[in-house]
Amino acid sequence: MNFETLLQTLVFGFFVGSLYGVAAIGLSLVFGVMKILNVAHGELMMLAGYVSYFVFSLFGIDPFVSILISIPVLFCVGLLLDRLVYRRIHLLTGEAKIKNSLLVSFGLSLILQALAIQFFTADERAIQASYSGYSLTLGGIILPYTRLISLFIIFGVISLLHWFLQRTITGKAIRAAAEDAEAANLAGINIQRFYMLTLALSAALSGLAGSLVIIGYGITPTVGVVWLLRGLIVVVLAGTGSIFGTFSAGILLGLVEAISSTLFGAASREIVGLVMFLVVLVLRPQGLFGKKG
């Protein structure tokens, strides 16, 4: 394998890794703040993909513009899910909470998959925009425009999220609830309301991720689990607490997958992430960027 092929592989790994990062930030936000694992996160991405697909195929709305629709739609789905499903789980504590969150969200993911097969059929959908085939070539390396725009949008959104969590009082309240829910409650913060907002934000991020996935890669009703698995690996790699840490871990997974599939064949792609997952769990359980304790 020559240098150019390697570089090209890494570039594509970087692009897909940025999406792993976004998927993982959504998962990590809910896990860090609410201490529940939302297994249905991948299905929320899948739904967002279909939102983009249908507004494109029915109304001809540009897939990147459709993010402006899929994000608010998924934000509302998040609010609704919290109201109908997760609110009951917040009332539990400790082990009962994590166990029930797993069971309930796993059930939810199955239901969403079944509904998607029913209404959208099991066919794979993707969006071919007029500019889909075009790319920038830099020193022999191909940079498709769609991937570049995706990356640009992702950087914008996670920077905005970072600013929101670090600088605004609402963001600080979310961080306070993540750090110590009782102490936040004693400071006058209505925990339930901020949990609801957190789930909605996470769903909105899955909205972004899902729309970008259908532009670059394609969506089926069962695609969620693939992205969920990648997201989980990234969350474990990164540890919770840092948006850019999680994003970097996403990129890392993308790069490692790309290299291993070039070197050892496409099948190794599925394995390498899980191997990293195990190694990090054994050697550095707080994650690469997480803090101890």
Binding site: K172, A184, G188, I189, N190
Partner: protein, 240 residues
């Protein structure tokens, strides 16, 4: 101001508080003393709206706030003026001093006068002003306790509840904390205090209650309890 009637608190099948009744009048410093595991912290957590009660009733400003079937959450009580400084301080350790204080003024009415309250907090604890950009968990125990009290002040408490504010602190800092409690009281804040340091606490108290095994075992003015032979024996090390 606060009236606790036959309070019962349980964690699952484990009863922490059996039958506790006491009251706090406006402007008082009321102290609860008692051995570890007597139910003091559970009592405070219930009053502040962190733990539902299983028996009895708690009234605040002549209105019931807690009954076995009525639970007012902590954040609602903060806007009504009940603020608890939890045992162990419970700061937001990864955030700065300023951010902790800002979050203390989260309720709408507190947020409106945030800057004015902040000036008062910094006047009372100049150390916090010096360290306002420092991460809370990198400060000393004494500074952290100042921040915990400062954060509570930001919520504009009418009734400030403190759980073991002097625990694990150096004697000089303990004195500072008690001076601050006295000063806040003189400014008109009503105080409910749980303390291991019974001698200092009783010296400060308008009235005090002794809690043992989830029940009230005695009550009196601070001075009366300081001179009570049983209290001296059990909580004041037998010497005075």
């Amino acid at each position: 101001m606060l009236e606790v009637k036959n309070l019962g608190v349980a964690y699952g099948d484990v009863r922490a508080v059996w039958d506790i009744s006491f009251h706090v009048n406006v402007g008082e410093i009321v102290v609860l003393i008692g051995p570890n595991g007597a139910g003091k912290t559970s009592t405070l957590r219930s009053i502040a709206g962190l733990q539902p009660i299983v028996a009895g009733q708690v009234d605040y400003l002549n209105k019931p706030i807690h009954q076995p079937k009525l639970f007012t959450h902590a954040h609602e009580l903060v806007s009504q003026g009940i603020v608890l400084v939890h045992e162990g301080r419970r700061l937001f350790g990864s955030m700065s001093v300023s951010e902790n204080l800002e979050l203390g003024a989260f309720s709408p009415q507190a947020r409106k006068v945030k800057n004015r309250t902040l000036t008062q907090v910094f006047e009372m604890f100049p150390r916090l002003a010096e360290r306002k950009d420092q991460r809370a968990n990198t400060m000393s125990g004494g500074e952290q306790q100042m921040l915990a009290i400062g954060r509570a002040m930001m919520g504009l408490p009418k009734l400030l509840i403190l759980d073991e504010p002097s625990l694990g602190l150096a004697p000089l800092v303990v004195k500072l904390i008690f001076d601050v409690i006295r000063e806040l009281n003189q400014q008109g804040m009503t105080i409910l205090l749980v303390e291991q340091n019974a001698k200092r606490a009783l010296a400060l108290a308008s009235r005090a209650y002794v809690i043992e095994q989830g029940r009230i075992a005695g009550t009196g003015t601070g001075a009366a309890l300081l001179n009570d032979p049983n209290v001296q024996h059990s909580y004041l090390g037998g010497v005075l």
